[in-house]
C-alpha cells in the first residue's frame, strides 16, 4: 500500500508520540514494528510539512524520526544489520507507545468523570472573625526579600532547548545536501554522505545526523530519484541516481 495523501491539517499534537499514535490508530493498526514501518513516511511527511515547529520540539520529533527510520530501513533492506542499541531503541519506542496509548485511554475515563459530580468544600472560607496575629518578624524588609525571591524564581522562557538541538540538522537541509551530492558524483557511499565511520562509536549528535541522512536517502529512494544497493552485510550502502533529470529544488 502506498503511503497515500493524508491530511491532518488544523490538528495539533502533543509531541511525537501523540502524532505517531494518531497515525497508527488512523490506519487502524496495532502497535508493532510492522505498523511503525508503515506509518514512518506519514510521520516524516508530517514533520516536514510542519513549519512553525519550536526548536525544542523539533529535536524531540527528529529523535523519534530517527528510530522510525531504522525501523523503515530494516523493512526495506532486511540485510541491514542493526546494532544492539538501535534494536533497543526500536523496542523502546514500541513500549513507550503502548504505555502512552494506555494512559490516553485512561485519560478519557478521567475526563468523563472530571467535574461530573464534584464534591464541594465550604464556600465560606473562614468560620471565625479574624484576630490580628502577625509574626513579630514580618517587616517591610522581609516582605521586600520575599517578593524578590518570588520574582527570582519565575520561570524563564525556553532556555532548555538549545543543548538538545544544537547539532540536529533539519530534514530539508539534509535532503538538499544529499540531492546535490548525488548529482555531483553519481555514485557515493552512505558513510561518505553521513560521515559515519565504521566501528567508531558515534555521539548522540552524530547519530542523529546519520539517521536523518538515512531518512533523507530513503525519501529519495521512495521518490525514485536514487537507488540504493548494499553488496553484502555490514557493507556500505551505495547510492546512485536512477533518473537523468533530477527535479529542481528551490
Amino acid at each position: 500500500m502506498s503511503s497515500g495523501q493524508f491530511t491532518i491539517k488544523q490538528e495539533s499534537f502533543e509531541g511525537p508520540l501523540d502524532l505517531l499514535l494518531h497515525l497508527i490508530e488512523k490506519r487502524k493498526l496495532h502497535i508493532s514494528d510492522v505498523s511503525l514501518a508503515k506509518v514512518a513516511d506519514d510521520y516524516i511527511a508530517h514533520i516536514n510539512s510542519t513549519e512553525k515547529m519550536p526548536v525544542a520540539e523539533s529535536a524531540h520529533f527528529i529523535l523519534i524520526a530517527s528510530t522510525l527510520t531504522l525501523i523503515k530501513s530494516k523493512s526495506l533492506l532486511p540485510m541491514l544489520d542493526l546494532t544492539e542499541e538501535e534494536q533497543s531503541d526500536i523496542d523502546d519506542l514500541e513500549r513507550r507507545l503502548k504505555e502512552y496509548q494506555r494512559f490516553k485511554e485512561l485519560s478519557v475515563g478521567l475526563a468523563n468523570i472530571f467535574g461530573k459530580n464534584p464534591m464541594f468544600c465550604s464556600e465560606k472560607q473562614v468560620h471565625i472573625d479574624p484576630v490580628f496575629s502577625p509574626e513579630e518578624n514580618t517587616t517591610t524588609t522581609t516582605l521586600r526579600e520575599a517578593i524578590g525571591s518570588v520574582l527570582a524564581s519565575l520561570p524563564k522562557p525556553e532556555k532548555m532547548a538549545k543543548t538538545v538541538v544544537q547539532k540536529v540538522i533539519s530534514l530539508e537541509e539534509m535532503i538538499d545536501n544529499l540531492t546535490n551530492r548525488v548529482m555531483s558524483s553519481l555514485k557515493m557511499s552512505f558513510s561518505e554522505f553521513s560521515g559515519k565511520k565504521n566501528g567508531k562509536v558515534l555521539s548522540k549528535e552524530e547519530k542523529v545526523n546519520v539517521v536523518v541522512g538515512f531518512l533523507a536517502m530513503l525519501e529519495l529512494v521512495k521518490e525514485g530519484i536514487v537507488s540504493v544497493t548494499q553488496q553484502k552485510e555490514f557493507d556500505d550502502i551505495e547510492i546512485e541516481t536512477k533518473k537523468v533529470g533530477i527535479p529542481q529544488y528551490e
Binding site: K9, L19, M53, P130, V131, S133, P134, L143, A146, E158
Partner: protein
C-alpha cells in the same frame, strides 16, 4: 422517607441534601431560600430539619435554628477542641510560602487569587485562608467584576509594618515594573511553547 426529586440526586434523602447545602454555604441561610433550592414546601422543610437534627444528635455538628434562618456549626461540646485549633492556627509559623504570598498581596494589591496563583506557580487557597484568619489580609469584591474577589493587606498589617500606604513599601515602583513584565512576557510566550500545531 422523602420522595425522590430528580434521578441524579435520588440517592440522598431530603435532610442529607439540606445538610450538604448548609455545609456548602457555611453561614446562616434563610429557610425560604432553602425550601426554594430543595423545591419543597415550608412544612416539608420543617420535617427535613427535624430529621436532620435527629441525625446530628451525638455528632460533631449541630443546626443552629434561629427564627427564619438555619446554620450548620460545630457541636458546643467540641468548643474546647476548636479553641485549641484556633490558637494553633493563629500562632503557627507563616512559613516561606505564607510570607511570599503576603508579599505578593502587599506589592500587588488589590490582587485576584488567580494572579497570585499564577505568579507563585501553585494554588494559594489554604495560605490565603490562613492569612485572612490572622487578620493580615482581607478579601473584597473586585471593582471590575463583582463576582470575583481581590485581596489586600489589612490596615492592621500596614500599621504593624509602620507604613501608611502600600506604596511606602521598599522599592515599590521597581517591583511593580518587574511583576508587570512577568505577566506580559508570560502572555506572549505561552502560545509558542510546547505545543506543535500543524
Amino acid at each position: 422517607m422523602p420522595e425522590e426529586t430528580t434521578p441524579q440526586q435520588s440517592n440522598l434523602t431530603l435532610d442529607a441534601k439540606l445538610e450538604a447545602l448548609l455545609f456548602f454555604k457555611g453561614e446562616p441561610v434563610k429557610k425560604k431560600k432553602l425550601a426554594e433550592l430543595l423545591d419543597i414546601t415550608g412544612p416539608e422543610l420543617e420535617q427535613a430539619i427535624l430529621s436532620l437534627e435527629q441525625t446530628l444528635s451525638g455528632r460533631g455538628l449541630r443546626i443552629i435554628h434561629k427564627e427564619d434562618v438555619l446554620e450548620l456549626r460545630t457541636a458546643p461540646e467540641a468548643s474546647a477542641l476548636i479553641e485549641t485549633l484556633i490558637k494553633e492556627d493563629l500562632h503557627r509559623d507563616l512559613g516561606k510560602a505564607g510570607v511570599e504570598t503576603l508579599a505578593i498581596i502587599a506589592y500587588k494589591a488589590p490582587v485576584a487569587k488567580r494572579d497570585i496563583d499564577y505568579i507563585r506557580g501553585v494554588n494559594s487557597s489554604f495560605i490565603l485562608r490562613n492569612l485572612m484568619v490572622r487578620g493580615l489580609i482581607e478579601r473584597t469584591s473586585s471593582r471590575q467584576d463583582a463576582r470575583s474577589f481581590v485581596y489586600s493587606p489589612t490596615i492592621d498589617l500596614l500599621g504593624h509594618l509602620g507604613i501608611e500606604r502600600i506604596s511606602d513599601l521598599p522599592e515599590y515602583d521597581n517591583v511593580q515594573q518587574e511583576i508587570k513584565a512577568f505577566y506580559e512576557n508570560e502572555k506572549t510566550s505561552e502560545t509558542t511553547t510546547e505545543k506543535v500545531t500543524d
